[in-house]
């Protein structure tokens, strides 16, 4: 970051705001169209009922729950980068954390749609939350599904607070660089922030506490999601391995998604001074670490299934890997999550932007199939062979899955045009401050 000045940082990071190019508008149109298609598919399901999905007894968790877990996992990298790496004073987080936090919020917003879509009668989704009612009927807090409601709601709330608090000083910068109605809007959003000593003093203290709270929260959320499965007496699910297995998978997929999103962004906006190979290589290293843990978890669950001498458990894991129904899903998962990322062990490959982008896409595909592998195969192949079925998603389910990407990318595209996607104040902390001593020495 040599040669950068405070004014230069402000200018560079605010440059892409408010001026949509034709390419941007084209991307937004595609994204909104895909979202609209997903919305149409959901409407078809609301009108006709859950029967339009590919459910067949006993498989009642399919693409929707798979996609829910996928998006919750994607949402893990943002808070990990912004909170855990903040506490470790990791310098590379600064360039990417703002967009990663935004990604987290939009991913959790996307994920939160799926339980409502999955239960069919989405308008009754408020039944998930405890509220006093005339029958004095309450939720069962011993159910992992209720834990999940609290975990996801807390994660969304805390991530949003953390995101907004981090954004306030930068909103003040936008306010001071704009005029008219836009200025007034940002003045309200910045809450009158002026960067006084008093404000910074309390801000820094509060930010540290937010980071300290968000750190265990990141690790807990996907642990709780994993208990949705692990608490059930279902083959392939009932394992104490699940929490670390799910958390490592979530961070793996989340970091890959940060690469997928930030790499084009840094190229298009010419932000090489702020987001460059150093950041992407660090993210690739995170993927290598968490991907290795994930591969180890895959191996361990298969080993334990064999070592347990439980014929049902071992039968399921054999079916997953070699059965005619889902072996292609298993193979896709292993290739995408265990084999493809190995290329990043070579430095020249994890510093090659094209390779980084392609492998990050492969990981995203692989992590969706991992959840599909866990959910579909276990439910389709339970204890009673007479109840074995082959679950295939319907076009409605796949349409809603596709639409979720439209929903996510629409939010993200809107974000990068109205908010500083790189943290201005924190980037300024990384560069050498203007010093009279330096000028006198020169």
């Amino acid at each position: 970051m040599k040669g950068l000045t405070y004014a230069g940082v402000t200018r560079d990071i605010l440059r892409p705001l408010f001026k949509p190019s034709a390419a941007y508008l084209g991307l937004l149109t595609v994204s909104v169209s895909v979202m609209a298609w997903g919305g149409y598919c959901w409407w078809v399901q609301l009108v006709n009922g859950l029967g339009v999905g590919g459910y067949q007894p006993p498989v009642f968790w399919g693409v929707y729950i798979t996609t829910f877990v996928f998006w919750i996992g994607i949402g893990h990298a943002g808070t990990l980068i912004s909170a855990i790496l903040f506490l470790f004073r990791s310098r590379w987080r600064t360039g990417v954390y703002r967009a990663a936090e935004a990604m987290t919020i939009f991913a959790v917003m996307t994920a939160a749609l799926f339980p409502a879509i999955h239960v069919g009668r989405a308008w009754n989704a408020y039944w998930l939350f405890p509220y006093p009612n005339q029958r004095e009927l309450w939720q069962n807090f011993k159910s992992p599904l209720m834990w999940d409601v609290f975990a996801v709601a807390t994660y969304f709330s805390v991530s949003t607070i953390f995101f907004y608090i981090g954004l306030i000083p930068d909103l003040a910068v936008v306010r001071d660089k704009t005029s008219g109605i836009v200025h007034k809007m940002y003045a309200q959003l910045a809450l009158g922030w002026r960067g006084t000593d008093r404000q910074w003093h309390h801000y820094l203290a509060a930010y540290g506490f937010f980071a300290a709270f968000a750190t265990p929260l990141v690790l807990s959320v996907h642990s709780v999601v994993s208990w949705d499965f692990a608490m059930a007496q279902t083959m392939g699910w009932h394992s104490t391995l699940f929490p670390p297995y799910f958390v490592s998978g979530a961070i793996f997929s989340g970091c890959a998604m940060v690469i997928t999103l930030m790499l084009p962004l840094s190229r298009i906006f010419d932000w090489d001074d702020y987001i460059n190979v150093w950041h992407f290589e660090s993210l690739a290293k995170m993927c290598l670490l968490t991907g290795s843990i994930l591969t180890y978890a895959y191996a361990t669950e298969h080993f334990i299934a064999w070592y347990s001498d439980n014929p049902y458990e071992w039968g399921l894991f054999t079916y997953r890997a070699t059965g005619e129904d889902y072996s292609w899903v298993f193979a896709t998962m292993v290739f995408c999550n265990c084999i493809a990322p190995l290329i990043w062990w070579k430095k020249s490959m994890r510093t090659n932007l094209a390779v980084l982008f392609v492998v990050s896409l492969i990981i995203n595909v692989g992590m969706w199939f991992e959840r599909y592998n866990i959910i579909a195969s276990s439910l389709a192949h339970q204890y009673d062979p007479a109840a074995w079925v082959y679950y295939v998603p319907s076009w409605v389910e796949l349409g809603i899955l596709l639409g979720s990407f439209g929903w996510f990318f629409t939010w993200f595209l809107l974000f990068i045009k109205v908010m500083p996607a790189v943290a201005i104040a924190e980037v300024k902390e990384l560069i050498r401050p203007p010093l009279m001593a330096d000028e006198e020495a020169a």
Partner: protein, 176 residues
């Protein structure tokens, strides 16, 4: 004779830190320093030995949240006493710990937010005009000293200019 406000604009961090130190050492208390980024060297000069009280909000919120989370689970299960198989007690600590943990985090954060808003006096739309210079969020540091007499203004203008102030503005308004 009304008290005056002196606003000094600095382009260099070391000059700003020296100026804040000088003002602090002179015993002046009604001043504010602004910067476009958090600088611990400025904070240390002004607040050394005075940690932010936000931490008390945080602790209160966390304790309240944990208590409320566990109480919610216990109360609702006692209010709707489902007979759970396998001899599980109605109020069972292990499953309720998850909700307790989540509520601890949630309310800890909400109270921290409340503490931040209260201590920073946000929204800060009523701050004195001298602090609203647009350059202070971009690349300049500002030191605003209130409640100065005419003699003090002259002295501090000289002092701050010597310490590297690039611009000095005196205003009549008394914000003390």
């Amino acid at each position: 004779m009304s008290a005056k406000t002196l606003t000094a604009v600095f382009g260099h961090l070391d000059c700003m830190v020296d100026a804040v130190d000088a003002v602090k050492r002179a015993g002046l208390v009604d001043f504010a320093a602004t910067s476009p980024l958090p600088r611990e060297d400025i904070e240390d000069v002004i607040y050394e030995g005075h940690p932010s009280p936000v931490r008390w909000f945080t602790m209160t919120g966390a304790i309240f949240g944990g208590t409320a989370g566990f109480s919610l689970c216990a109360f609702t299960h006692l209010n709707w006493p489902m007979i759970i198989p396998a001899g599980k007690p109605l109020v069972s600590i292990p499953p309720f710990l998850v909700i307790t943990f989540e509520a601890t985090i949630l309310f800890g954060c909400l109270f921290t937010l409340l503490g931040l808003v209260a201590m920073c006096r946000l929204p800060g739309f009523g701050l004195q005009p001298e602090l609203t210079d647009r350059r202070f969020s971009n690349d300049k540091f500002g030191l605003v000293v209130n409640g100065l007499s005419d003699a003090q203004v002259d002295t501090w203008k000289t002092t701050l200019a010597t310490l590297g102030a690039q611009e000095l503005v005196v205003t009549e308004a008394d914000h003390a």
